[in-house]
Amino acid sequence: MNFELSEEQKMIQQSVERFVQENYDLPKRVKLSSQDPGYSKDYWNSMAELGWLGLPFTEEVGGFGGNQIDTLVIMEQFGKGLVLEPFLANIVLGGGAIQMGGSEELKNEMLSSLIEGSKQITLAYAEQQSRFDLEDVATSARKEGEKYIINGQKSMVLNAESADHLVVVTRTNGGQVDEEGITLFLVDSDSKGLERNNFPTVDGLRASEITFDNVEVNSERMIGDPDKGFSILRTITNNAILALCAEAVGAMEVLYKDTVEYTQQREQFDQPLSDFQVLQHRMVDMFMEYEQCKSLLFRATMETIQDPSMAQRTIHALKHLIGKSGIFVGENAVQLHGGMGVTEELRVGHFFKRLLVIDSQFGNADFHLDKFTKF
């Protein structure tokens, strides 16, 4: 058993931590978030130059052959500053799908420009009726000669506004909720018949509703084998869950620490709030939730690296706990900050919002608890 990071990982951790400290105070974040494209292109380029965008990709395509622990290290630090740059959408989801299922041509064409930050790719999978069910796919792709014709609608697509390409999850066979018969395509986002409705999300990020009206895609742009796309979808969304949970753990750390500090400064009834035992115990609870989440995050990440097929149950457990504990820590950080916690002026509210959104992505606490019980 060894929970130590490698020397390389420690160096990445320190460099991301420094980047976040230097570039991500609250006013800066608010400003970036409110201007197009909703993050900093300069930061994105810096991340590319520092090699972070290539970390999880293989060396053949210009990456560094990292694994989920490397992503965890980056995302946990990102969580401490609520970093806006679209690492999850591009590197974990879009790039992850191509790395796993793309043809050699597609990998060569896409991944090096993704890694150098010149191209962006996101994943379009959820639909209105699907809620959190990955296998519930109604958007259809119909074969016509060398082409496929896509029709349907995708919801809450992360960072689609900036994406040059979308990995679109379609139904090519089987019933609407069958795992078999799902096929992934890489679709140019300026394709004819593709329409994006972009909007901000409560955590200061961006998402889109997308409609496909007879959108044509060449069969060379298929990712993985026809009808067999589900396992790719499952793998990249599991990786996204691990990444998001790492971000959440970083955010929870900020929240409990900020709360401890604030209660030591704020005086009411002629003493610092931190002198009240009831508040001390609440902060102990927040701290324990954070530690427990971190433990389960390590467990799920290490089990995934060891054998992804055995890690599914732990991933359900993790996303459940992160959803529940993240909101617990967020609500109590706000409560203990009193009125100030409910304002846009302090950062606790912003971290709370991010944790709230994380619970709603890739299945909320209830959804994963239910899945867990069915194992």
Partner: protein, 390 residues
């Protein structure tokens, strides 16, 4: 023990329902003229425009049961909220502690909804510990006016208020509950600056208010100098009961269930989902109990007992319930709960749901944070003070 409504109560309920029904806003009608007309007709019913005012001051003089019926039907008919600051907060203080001149001067405009009031209580350093307030009022040498300097915070709707009722410090030599003076003055005057505070739900309701050399004539002081805390304290308990908002919650829970039924899950809806269903059920059970806690408190009030610490129970449970309703709305919105801004995405009810939840976090903070309410119960009900060892 008897929970059956008497035939008089039943008749009253029908009368209230009929009144709400007859005076609905018509299509295309201007909201404000409708609302003012509504108050006029309510007044003609015998003080229904000021339901909580005692008969002596022109209110209807209802029994607690009648109040309960009124609240329920108001929520059911979705009658818009009436701003509580003048009507429910200042007016009772004027009735108890104001001079006759002050009553005559201020109450008619409050009743006619002509003047918007705001409440100047909390300050940057005086939140849960309200008595710690520092806004200074200094009496002029000739004793005719006070000069007010300082800041108030979390002042709800200060940006649209015409007047403020304000706790100020005139003496800091004694314990902090002493030396507080209750002043009334207009908001639209030199020396008053209102700055918005934007809350997490993205809305502007509360403000900071800064006073620089604001002159307040001495006849705008309620009661005696230095006794303001006594006047304000009784009111806080009333405020807490009002914050519970149970009758509205009852209606909102039904709405919540309707929303969940509109979310398709497989062959059923979200209301068939066992964990979601259980959470709604737990919420309803909580609400059922709290409704009767409120009724018991009303019955005590009817028997002439002072409203006491049970207002803390109601505030605690009532605000928790309101927060849970908001949280379950967010959960029902599912993947769409993060959507923000003006465009509606996903389910119609999802829009505004997350903002509502975020703002609802305030419910367990304002009007005395939950932790403070529990202190009140611990001390006043359970007798758990330092040195209470037996």
């Amino acid at each position: 023990m008897d929970i059956e409504l008497s035939s008089e109560d039943l008749a009253f309920r029908d009368e209230v329902k009929a009144f709400f029904d007859e005076n609905k806003m018509k299509d295309g009608e201007d909201y404000f003229s409708w609302r003012l007309g509504w108050f006029k007709k309510a007044r003609e019913k015998g003080g229904w425009d000021v339901p909580k005012w005692p008969a002596k001051f022109g209110g209807p003089g209802w029994t607690p049961t009648q109040h309960y019926i009124w609240e329920q039907e108001t929520a059911r008919a979705a009658i818009p909220f009436d701003l509580p600051f003048g009507l429910g907060m200042l007016a009772p203080i004027l009735m108890s502690y104001g001079s006759e001149e002050q009553q005559e001067r201020f109450m008619p405009d409050i009743r006619d909804r002509k003047v918007n009031w705001c409440q100047g209580y909390s300050e940057p350093g005086a939140g849960s510990d309200l008595a710690n307030l520092k806004t200074k009022a200094v009496l002029s040498e000739d004793g005719t006016y006070y000069t007010v300097n300082g800041s108030k915070m979390w002042t709800t709707l200060a940006h649209v208020a015409d007047w403020i009722f304000c706790l100020t410090r005139t003496d800091d030599s004694g314990i902090k509950q002493q030396g507080i003076t209750f002043l009334l003055f207009p908001m639209k005057q030199e020396g008053i600056e209102v700055k918005p505070i934007i809350t997490l739900g993205g809305s502007h309701t509360v403000n900071t208010v800064h006073f620089t050399d604001v002159k307040v004539p001495v006849e705008n002081r309620i009661g005696e100098e230095g006794k303001g805390w006594t006047y304000a304290k009784g009111l806080l308990e009333h405020e807490r009961t009002g914050l519970a908002g149970l009758s509205r919650s009852l209606v909102e829970v039904e709405q919540l269930k309707d929303n969940a039924r509109s979310v398709q899950r497989g062959n059923g809806t979200l209301m068939d989902d066992s964990s979601y269903k259980s959470k709604v059920a737990e919420l309803e059970i909580d609400l059922m109990a709290t409704e009767y806690t409120e009724l018991r408190s009303l019955a005590n009030a009817a028997a002439g007992e002072e409203l006491g610490p049970e207002s803390s129970i109601l505030k605690l449970k009532g605000t928790e319930i309101k927060q849970k309703i908001q949280k379950l709305t967010v959960e029902a919105s599912g993947i769409y709960s993060p959507a923000w801004g003006d465009g509606g995405v996903g389910y119609p009810f999802a829009k505004g749901g997350t903002g509502g939840y975020l703002n609802s976090r305030y419910f367990t903070i304002y009007g005395g944070a939950s932790e403070v309410q529990k202190d009140v119960i611990a001390k006043k009900v359970l007798g758990l003070t330092k040195g209470s060892k037996k």
